[in-house]
């Protein structure tokens, strides 16, 4: 393993430790050292074994899957925890992405101003952008929930689908807001200077020397680390609140609305709260996506890529279970990216059927995802990992789980 590969591998140690903590059962005293050992061994093992290209591909794949995992966790806190059918994930995703983009970029100047318009550009740091994205998305979620959450489930599904469509129409048509139909470019990457030559001036010399062989193309390794930490924070926070009294009320409202109301719980207020929490997380997911792809436009937030596939991920992983909400995105994203190569292999056969078919082969993957969702709904609606029935951490677990 050369120096550059060693530096790359060092970035994935912490994400792997977090993953190990998620998987390894047992007491905390045993888990932590085990997880650290496993993380270090696997990280440097992967670095030693894999070629640079494959290694980078694996990391960029995982980064995208983790961004979807954030969306899926957000949806889980709405659907899994309190039974809101939000078919408008794309809308909150878009609001988050564009908010963070507007907050962190600066207003275009000079010749660029003729091509690129935006309502404002505050030039704030990354974390401010992410927080702003979450907050604005939560506000949108709140405004949506006031008229809609008192309605029946089916009406909520229709209304959220419509809201996402309208949000997309706004970003498509309002040029002054975020460059309309043209992409909004130049969204800054946090700490991108780590990989520049010379590196950030504040960086201690030994670290700078360690990162010296890495170029801007290796930025993805740092972003992977960043997304993993944010995902872990969201996961832990959601696990805490879903086991708190608040989370129990949410499940009560979901399963037995009348009983919850009879116990004196303000049902509508609780429903609005969980909807807002989910919107916040989806907004954060949007911000992270925006800083990852650097250039965004309305077409990224169509119902397929942003709503439908997130539902497939959550349903497959297991709704109501946050571990499932993380597992699902990895599986579905692997299927999605993996089938690309299968479809490419099929290209000669397809061109025999019709000369147009190979250029349209991308739609085979749509079809596959649609079939996958139908199969989940028909055969395993509870997903890979079921929701765990747990009343309290202080009571002994009963039965199978």
């Amino acid at each position: 393993m050369d120096h550059a590969q060693l530096a790359r591998a060092s970035f994935i140690v912490i994400p792997l430790i977090l993953l190990a903590l998620l998987i390894i059962p047992g007491r905390r005293a045993v888990r932590l050292p085990l997880a650290i050992i496993a993380g270090v061994v696997v990280a440097f093992g992967l670095g030693a074994m894999m070629a640079t290209g494959n290694f980078t591909y694996m990391i960029s794949f995982s980064t995208m899957a983790m961004i979807y995992a954030i969306l899926s966790l957000g949806l889980n806190s709405q659907w899994g925890l309190s039974g809101h059918v939000n078919f408008g994930v794309a809308g909150f995703f878009a609001v988050g992405a564009f908010t963070s983009a507007l907050v962190t970029t600066t207003m275009p100047t000079g010749a660029l101003a003729a091509y690129s318009q935006q309502a404002f550009g505050l030039g704030q740091p990354f974390l401010v952008g992410v927080l702003a994205a979450g907050i604005v998305s939560a506000i949108v979620g709140y405004l949506v929930s006031i008229p809609v959450l008192r309605l029946r489930t089916d009406f909520l599904a229709i209304a959220t689908l419509g809201i996402a469509e309208i949000i997309r129409l706004i970003f498509q048509n309002e040029r002054w807001l975020a460059n309309g139909p043209q992409p909004l470019r130049g969204i800054p990457q946090p700490l991108g200077c780590l990989f520049d030559d010379p590196a950030c001036s504040w960086l201690p010399a030994p670290v700078a020397a360690f990162l010296q062989p890495l170029g801007p193309r290796d930025y993805i390794f740092f972003y992977f680390l960043l997304v993993a930490i944010i995902l872990a924070v969201i996961y832990v926070a959601l696990e805490r609140i879903s086991r708190s009294p608040w989370g129990r009320v949410q499940r009560a409202v979901r399963d037995e609305e009348n009983s919850a109301a009879m116990s004196g719980k303000p049902v509508t207020f609780f429903r609005i709260q969980s909807f807002v929490v989910g919107s916040f997380i989806m907004g954060v997911g949007g911000a992270i996506y925006a800083h990852y792809v650097v250039s965004i436009d309305y077409s990224h937030f169509n119902p397929l890529f942003a709503t439908f596939i997130v539902w497939v991920m959550l349903m497959l992983g297991g709704s109501g279970n946050n571990k499932g909400a993380i597992l699902g995105p990895f599986v579905v994203w692997a299927v999605w990216t993996g089938t690309q190569s299968v479809v490419d292999l099929m290209a000669p056969v397809l061109s025999l059927i019709s000369p147009d078919l190979p250029s349209r082969s991308a739609y085979f993957r749509w079809m596959l995802v649609a079939i996958l969702l139908a199969a989940i709904v028909l055969y395993r609606p509870e997903g890979i990992i079921r929701e765990r029935k747990r009343v309290s951490d202080f009571m002994k677990r009963t039965g199978k789980d």
């Binding site: 039974g83 059918v85 078919f87 006031i146 008229p147 809609v148 309605l151 029946r152 489930t153 089916d154 009406f155 599904a157 229709i158 209304a159 689908l161 419509g162 809201i163 469509e165 309208i166 129409l169 498509q172 048509n173 119902p303 397929l304 439908f308 539902w311 349903m315 147009d356 078919l357 250029s359 349209r360 739609y363 085979f364 749509w366 079809m367 995802v369 649609a370 079939i371 969702l373 139908a374 709904v377 028909l378 609606p381």
Partner: protein, 359 residues
């Protein structure tokens, strides 16, 4: 748009049960059906005024209103099928928009196989178009039946929750859309590329295409047939009974599965006609059904779920509102206008104009 938004929020406040007394009384008054219909008409008048303020002439606005009625006819063809399925099976079928797309594209495919005859003046289309419509109806009816067999029948047997039905229909819509993309690609298509379709000049400065009149008349005829079927035939009676109370209907010896199959057939065929009409009025594109889905839902909910006449009335109101809003708003926001009206209905009068009160 801004005016309409404010109307939404005002209604929202007045229907809030915790609001002070006078507002509550106002909310109660709004829940009266005729008052509510009046509010809807008032919104359309408001749209006229906004259009006039933006500098559109009265003749233009009159033409737009009439185009809106025509668009309403297309929306109604989709909304009636949706409202029947919604009423009988009790779930929002998100795949209904895809039925319109399938209908339009299958008519397109049929027309390419048929020899192209001269146009039937004053319309822009020939006999092959009529033949294509007639053949497209059973095709989409069969597609709807297959979708029901594969997706919804197993869920029904299991007594699955409404959400799973909605998810399944979402899967259905994406499946059908990918089929369309695979066969016809993402380009726009026209039934008659490049054929001129001049507008007729009617009195009062109204300009309407003959095709638009055809679309509306066909929509009215089909809606009338459905109404007769529901009110006069045994199957219609069984359908209404099943929508009202499926268990009781079954106890009384109604074969509910057969009723459901007929519901899909009627809904699919009407959607096919709507899709062809929309393709004739504008162009064919794979997203057309999804684009129409919001107005269709808005019309079905405004009219009251399960009521075909309500769907027709709702569709015409939505159609007029969409077309009129183009006089003072970017036309791309048509679905947004439909959506805002739908939210207004949901908040103020969830059972719609013609629906049964209660759930």
């Amino acid at each position: 748009m801004s005016m309409e938004k404010s109307a939404v929020s005002e209604e929202d406040v007045s229907s809030d049960p915790s609001a002070p007394k006078p507002a509550a009384r106002r909310g109660l008054a709004l829940q009266n059906r005729s008052t509510f219909a009046g509010v809807l008409v008032l919104i359309l008048v408001l749209f006229w005024v906004l259009g006039l303020l933006k500098g559109a002439s009265a003749g233009d606005l009159l033409s737009m209103t009439i185009w809106g009625v025509m668009l309403g006819g297309i929306i109604a063809l989709g909304a009636i099928g949706l409202t029947l399925v919604y009423g009988v099976l009790k779930f929002p079928n998100f795949a209904h928009g895809a039925f319109l797309t399938i209908g339009a594209y299958s008519a397109f495919a049929i027309m390419q196989m048929l020899p192209q005859g001269p146009a039937l003046k004053p319309f822009s289309f020939g006999w092959e178009m009529i033949a294509a419509i007639i053949l497209a109806l059973p095709i989409v009816a069969v597609v709807a039946l297959i979708l029901d067999r594969v997706l919804f029948y197993p869920l029904r047997k299991r007594g699955a929750s409404l959400v799973l039905f909605a998810m399944a229909s979402l899967a259905g819509t994406f499946f059908l859309r990918s089929v369309i993309y695979l066969i016809w690609g993402s380009d726009f298509h026209f039934f008659y590329p490049g054929r001129p379709n001049p507008a007729l000049h009617l009195p009062l400065g109204i300009r309407v295409q003959a095709d638009q009149i055809f679309v509306f008349v066909l929509a009215i005829v089909l809606v009338g047939l459905v109404y007769l079927l529901l009110e006069r035939s045994r199957m219609g009676k069984a359908m209404r009974a099943t929508a009202n109370n499926p268990d009781l209907a079954q106890v009384r010896g109604i074969n509910t599965e057969r009723v459901i199959a007929w519901t899909w057939v009627i809904g699919g065929a009407l959607a096919a006609a709507g899709g062809v009409m929309y393709g004739l009025a504008s162009q064919l594109r794979p997203e057309m059904g999804f684009f129409l889905l919001l107005p269709i839902f808005a019309a079905a909910i405004m009219g009251g779920v399960g009521s075909p006449i309500g769907a027709l009335v709702g569709a015409i109101i939505i159609g007029i509102a969409q077309q009129l809003s183009a006089s003072f708003l970017n036309p791309a926001y048509g679905p947004a206008v439909a959506f805002a009206l739908m939210i207004l209905v949901l908040v103020v009068q969830p059972q719609g104009l013609f629906g049964q009160s209660g759930k």
